[in-house]
Amino acid sequence: MRKIFVLAFLLLGYITAFARQNGGVEMADAMRGSGKIYVVIAVIAIIFIGLAIYLFSIDRRLKKIEKEK
């Protein structure tokens, strides 16, 4: 019985140590929580969509030139 208690206590200690280890790592929780990260995502998405449209337009122009040949 005592052994089990000791084991349980040690396990508990392990869990808290694990939790502390995880909690100690700094992450941008607040930044994402406050919602400002969406602004960054929006900017990146706009840039990428712009680049994609640009690529598509190059593609279309090339197709036209290829048809003329």
Partner: protein
Amino acid sequence: MKFIYQTWWKVLAVLLLLYTLIAGFLLGVPRLPILHETIRNVYFHVPMWMAMFAVFTISVIYSIKYLNTGKEKYDLIAVECVNTGTFFYVLGLITGMMWAKYTWGEYWSNDPKQNSAAIAFLLYCAYAVLRNSIDEEQKRAKISAIYNIFAFPIMVVLIMVLPRMTDSLHPGNGGNPAFGKLDMDNHMRMVFYPACIGWCFIALWIATLRYRIRLIEYKNNEIN
């Protein structure tokens, strides 16, 4: 060859990447010391190399095809794939240096992975130099095709094999656990794999655009 003129895979690539750009920032990632939020770089730095490998592999296939058939077209595909691959190579190196600055402490710490990546980069620079130094078309195509076939496995060994045999700071090397085993959970895979596929297709798309331009230039020169 009809494939490169189709649109569906280009749309697919754009949608996949749009998804990874959004999910890559919003989905949860493992909490790891030193890395912190930079672990999200896995979604952007690694796919650069995947895209590079994809176009370099295609270029080798077409170099072999060129040597088999002697069709000028295949040589043009091989060149433009190498050009696009080199571009993604530079992106991979620079993003890697940026990431290294904030996790390893230096932009360039003479890590085996960095050094051999730089050497392999010179291999492909040499390819461009070699091509530009030969005027005769067929000779240029043949020599550069052979060079390309030899350069590719050396590049793979330099980047993937040699750093793994020594101590390196880069994950996946020298007894250092790779992202695949410890650091990456299944949440990350849901973003990482689409990112790899998406960037590979984007690289392929750019390569095909460049190839089509070059083909037109080639035909124009032929008439004269």
